[in-house]
Symmetry: C2
Subunit: 330 residues, 2 copies
DNA sequence: CTGAAAGCGCTTACAG
DNA sequence: CTGAAAGCGCTTACAG
């Protein structure tokens, strides 16, 4: 059974293809009687317009690409944020009546594929989720003249973005620890080539400096193992520390383990605060205090920004505030 | 700067549109010299074929839809499996040179949208991820005559699927506990309207029956809270139990908490085994023994099944085996 | 308000 | 092996 076309519907309804098209597209300049007879035919035949034909002539696809650019073992893709972001974007696009093509760019090869696809006029715009500020994709895509919005700050100047207030979030964590009476507050950083990591470190540093305290810094790379290792090193270098701010939850979880092995009680001896508030943060023992990144809200904002860009609206960067979720570890 | 068309490339290369088309599509019946001059023009102009035009005439889109059908607070979407499945599918489709349109069906309204979209000839096939065997979508989509494969067993008879060996996984867990010398092994079930939940319960029951032991069953609904509550009830009903098999990890995590509060040591007093091996399973204290569902492999298998269906190949159901990941809790 | 006609950018028999 | 022509299924000025 072949799919019916506009022409078949028109014949059935006894009107022109133009009229059927107008009814289908909800134009108001159609006589009610024509409208009715067309709708009748549409229902009887189960007609649904062919997408490709429509896209070809309108030059729109009502489809947006979400490109997740990250190495296979990278930070974005493997962590729980992936799911939160993708789902929020999907929901928001559905509300806007758009479709989502998901593309992973995990290698140079797939990056090329993404560029080819984008160049093929399959989508109206691109939402880029890339953690590395140095990712070449934003610039490459933006060069194609297609609307591009980034889920993070990028090195490409002209790409609008939505970003977390990372420094503010770190400040939130440190202030909280100070209020709890902690005096020797260390931090475990992410990989410093990432914006996020640098900004969180800056927030930590500035807050301590403003209160006349010194920073105690250990380097991590956002993995659980690196958090455990950094914590070991911190305990060795500064046995008297009484608090740790980890730049993400995975490292905080690693730190918890090290503290447990070292016989330090959390939070009595050492308070721990993480960042991101991933699901696992509430499963640890003790449960983990964390800076909540409003991933879903950020995703929603990014979609709105992209839609605005496509419609020629404003494209000012959006900075998302964080909040602190206090649990047992601090 | 307008995108160049086939016609422009043909003019530049001094050949016909037909020849350009043939070169672009890698047909072998082209003279080398024509091939070269066309490729030259393609590169100079940065030509990429318009997808819509191509789709219209070929009646293929090289795009597959992944439909995740579940209530907003549902089991599939909110849990960590979502990300694993979506990523694995995406990778596999990329290898096959296909694109992925992701659709969430969280309400009747969005279900309708999905059906409309599928009917619009935007995709060549559908991979359906729905936990509820009673979901109306498989049947509805399959009725459209488009290739559909389900990530789970469904009530629609004619929809090929890939499923986990749930009963086998449960048996694995119970045998393991028996080998550890446990004698009073309880279970916490998932919501019994789900295939998964029933099959895991059956596996538990049969294994115990085969060894002459009785079942101790508490009902849960796959949430952490329900696991905690079921565990409380089990302890009350049968204070001497020495092991629990929870039908998923979230419930197992809830059970761990209840046991901790009740002063039972894990695994010394009560051994705990979960199912799914989500990421959080390795973060708990003690870390959780779990039946590993090979989600990525299952996703890969589902993609292969769908591609096979599209090509008119075999479409036999695939059953994925599980393995047990033994950690500290048992 | 309605219809006939052109055209979107490709692919594909069909001749040669 | 190559090219001219038809056609995929829509939308959209343009007349009326």
């Amino acid at each position: 059974m072949k799919r019916p076309t506009l022409e078949v519907v028109a014949a059935r309804a006894g009107v022109s293809k133009s009229s059927v098209s107008r009814v289908i597209n909800g134009e108001t300049t159609v006589a009610p009687q024509i409208r009715d007879v067309v709708m009748q035919a549409v229902h009887e035949l189960g007609y649904v317009p062919n997408g490709a034909a429509r896209n070809l002539v309108t030059r729109r696809t009502d489809t947006l690409a979400v490109v997740v650019s990250d190495p296979p073992q990278g930070v974005v893709s493997d962590d729980p944020l992936f799911s939160a972001v993708v789902r929020a974007v999907s929901r928001e696009l559905e509300i806007a009546g758009k479709r989502l093509v998901l593309m992973l760019a995990e290698s140079d090869q797939s990056r090329t594929r993404v560029e080819q696809y984008i160049a093929g006029a399959h989508v109206d715009g691109v939402l880029l989720v890339a953690l590395h500020g140095t990712d070449p994709l934003p610039a490459a895509l933006s060069r194609q003249g297609l609307p591009v919005v980034s889920f993070n700050r990028t090195s490409a100047q002209d790409v609008p973005y939505v970003a977390l207030d990372n420094a503010g979030g770190a400040a939130l964590a440190v202030h909280h620890l100070l209020e709890r009476g902690r005096r020797r507050i260390a931090t475990i950083t992410g990989p410093l080539e990432l914006h996020e990591a640098r900004e969180r470190l800056d927030g930590y540093r500035h807050t301590l400096r403003d209160t006349g305290r010194r920073s105690i810094v250990a380097l991590g790379d956002f993995t659980r193992g690196s958090g455990a290792e950094a914590m070991r090193q911190l305990l060795e270098d500064d046995p008297d520390l009484d608090a740790v701010f980890a730049a993400n939850d995975l490292m905080a979880i690693g730190a918890l383990r090290t503290l447990h092995q070292a016989g330090r009680r959390v939070p009595e001896d050492v308070a721990v605060v993480g960042f991101d508030d991933i699901e696992a943060a509430s499963y640890t023992t003790p449960s983990l205090t964390s800076v909540r990144s409003p991933m879903a809200d950020q995703a929603t904002a990014a979609v709105h920004l992209l839609l605005s860009l496509i419609d020629g609206g404003p494209t000012d960067p959006v900075i998302m505030p964080n909040e602190l979720v206090v649990r047992e570890s601090s």
